[in-house]
């Protein structure tokens, strides 16, 4: 799966680096100075690299914890995100990452302890106020779990951190590490969904909707708090029937008491990101359709977006209580 591993010289003997290398004994190992020498350089093509992305093992030096843009959130006013990885093994055509980075390589920051110190510091800045930390913005939180062992390190850490909530956002079924331990109260395992027909076309390399649901049921039975993320909403002629079907499938299996939160957001990309993605995939109908720029974001033309958000919201609120519903307010 991983043919090439780039390793920053400084961390070549870090225990997590050695562990990852052991896991991929046949991969070529290439030493580099800083990961920026390899990742996101000019004259790289995300689309071509996606065929065989390399793994880059790196150390992060700063900006461990970042503000979540206003309008996102699942119940707290104090929201931050952190990224132990950049990029994703999946290939979702709507993903903003393909417009953000020139490189499709997967960057894995191995210095977890520095992230945790920054999270702790951020929490201590506002004692008594609930602070939410999101881990799946620049990557899928769990997709590379057997390699990163992210939860093994971060769940015990968050378990002892009062007034915090950790969101693991994923499309992955790599939940063995969660099933093998007791759930922690302040962790939401949030799964992203589009209808199965949309996923089949636009979510390459991801587990099917059915398998994701099966995984959610396993977590539900184990007592983990769950989240549902219908973001982005993808428009097409049959979207009403397909979202209706998706909701029927989801809520037949997922019980409301297990749900911490449900959110949705229309398809949107920052203008610059859209331009980059369009150059990579001008042959993709998603980017050729009825889109327009509003306030620096490219999204569906207003009429379509409003109709779709309104329909999906209505259908969701027929099934879930309003207090766990958090539509993206961008």
């Amino acid at each position: 799966m991983i043919d090439s591993i780039y390793i920053e010289e400084e961390i070549q003997n870090h225990p997590r680096v050695l562990e990852v290398c052991e896991r991929f004994p046949k991969s070529r190992r290439i030493l580099c100075g800083r990961y920026g020498e390899v990742f996101n350089r000019k004259a790289q093509n995300f689309r071509l690299q996606k065929y065989r992305p390399a793994l880059i093992l790196a150390k992060k030096f700063d900006h461990f914890v970042l503000d979540v843009p206003k309008g996102y959130g699942i119940g707290s006013d104090r929201n931050f995100y952190f990224s132990h990885m950049l990029n994703c093994i999946y290939d979702c055509r709507y993903c903003f990452l393909q417009g953000m980075y020139r490189s499709a390589h997967l960057v894995f920051f191995v210095n977890y302890e520095d992230f945790q110190a920054a999270i702790e510091k951020k929490t201590n800045e506002a004692p008594g106020i609930e602070t939410h930390f999101f881990s799946g913005y620049d990557c899928d939180s769990l997709a590379l779990e057997p390699v990163t062992r992210f939860t093994e390190s971060f769940l015990p850490f968050f378990a002892q951190l009062p007034n915090t909530q950790l969101e693991l956002r994923t499309k992955s079924i790599q939940v063995k590490s969660l099933l093998n331990r007791e759930p922690i109260k302040n962790c939401v395992v949030a799964f992203s969904f589009t209808p199965a027909e949309v996923a089949a076309v636009l979510e390459d390399k991801t587990p099917s909707v059915e398998r994701r649901l099966k995984t959610m049921v396993q977590l539900q039975e184990r007592g983990w708090k769950l989240g549902l993320r219908f973001d982005p909403l993808i428009y097409h002629e049959q979207y009403k029937e397909q979202y209706e079907q998706l909701f029927q499938d989801v809520f037949r299996k997922i019980q409301i008491p297990s749900l911490h939160s449900v959110s949705l957001g229309p398809f949107r990309l920052p203008k610059e990101g859209y331009e980059n993605v369009y150059k990579l995939y001008p042959d993709q109908k998603l980017f050729a359709g009825p889109l327009e720029e509003r306030n620096g974001m490219v999204s569906y033309v207003r009429g379509i977006e409003e109709e779709m958000v309104s329909f999906v919201t209505k259908k969701l609120l027929q099934r879930i209580p309003k207090n766990i519903f958090f539509p993206c307010a961008i």
Binding site: R28, G33, E37, L48, R52, H236, P282, D283, A288, G289
Partner: protein, 270 residues
Amino acid sequence: MIHFVVALLPEAQPLIDYYHLKALPNSEPFKVYEGDGKRLIISGIGKTQAASAAAFLHVFSGGLRNQIWMNVGVAGHSERNLGDGILAHKVTDQVSGKSWYPPIVIETPCPTESVLTVERPETRYQGSWVYEMEAAGFYSTAVRFSTAELIHCFKVISDNPKSSTKKVSPALAKRLIRNHLQTIDIILKRTTKLAEELIPLEAAPVEFQKFLGHWHFTVSEQHRLRRLLKRIETLMPKAVIWSDEVQGLKKAKDVLEFLEEKINSLLVTL
């Protein structure tokens, strides 16, 4: 188009023969060979020569972007056997210390290694590098013209601690490269597949020129026109865009609005 940059004729001759390349007139100060979608330039020894040759060949070939580039040559190594063929996964300029990392996006038919570009032939072979004299100049120049996934350096080991550079004769260099023509060809075929994926993405919409010939579009309007036509092609590959209705429009602005409305009125499918 595949562009070869090779330091010396003995290293180039196997490629010239294998791909039936013919010398081109008017390519001074370099010697350029061409045939069936390939061009080869003899750069001379050293990274500056390799950089100059790559830049020359780019301009000589019409300045097209995202073409395939390959530097082929012989090299030294501390441990590897004579005759081993290596694809570079890292190229470092010994003088500046700067490194480049050719992304390996294809399945490789040979081992990959780090290449060190030195100023003079290496005799001590202290590190586990592929020692040679052109790759850094070649790569740093080629990457200005093409996406990194399409640029490769392929080296055949001609000297090591047991067999010094003094023993590398033109005949040996020729033989070493000739033994790896199949490997080079596999790398090029796999890289060509990648390059082919980019061609339709960069192509102008089929009817773009017709529109430009019919109305006057400003530069920014041309960009918008190109984008709108491409979007319609993507959404409806068989659509007749150059219709009587379009041709009846008076101004470029009307055309752009018409196309925008057409996109927004199409049925949206996945």
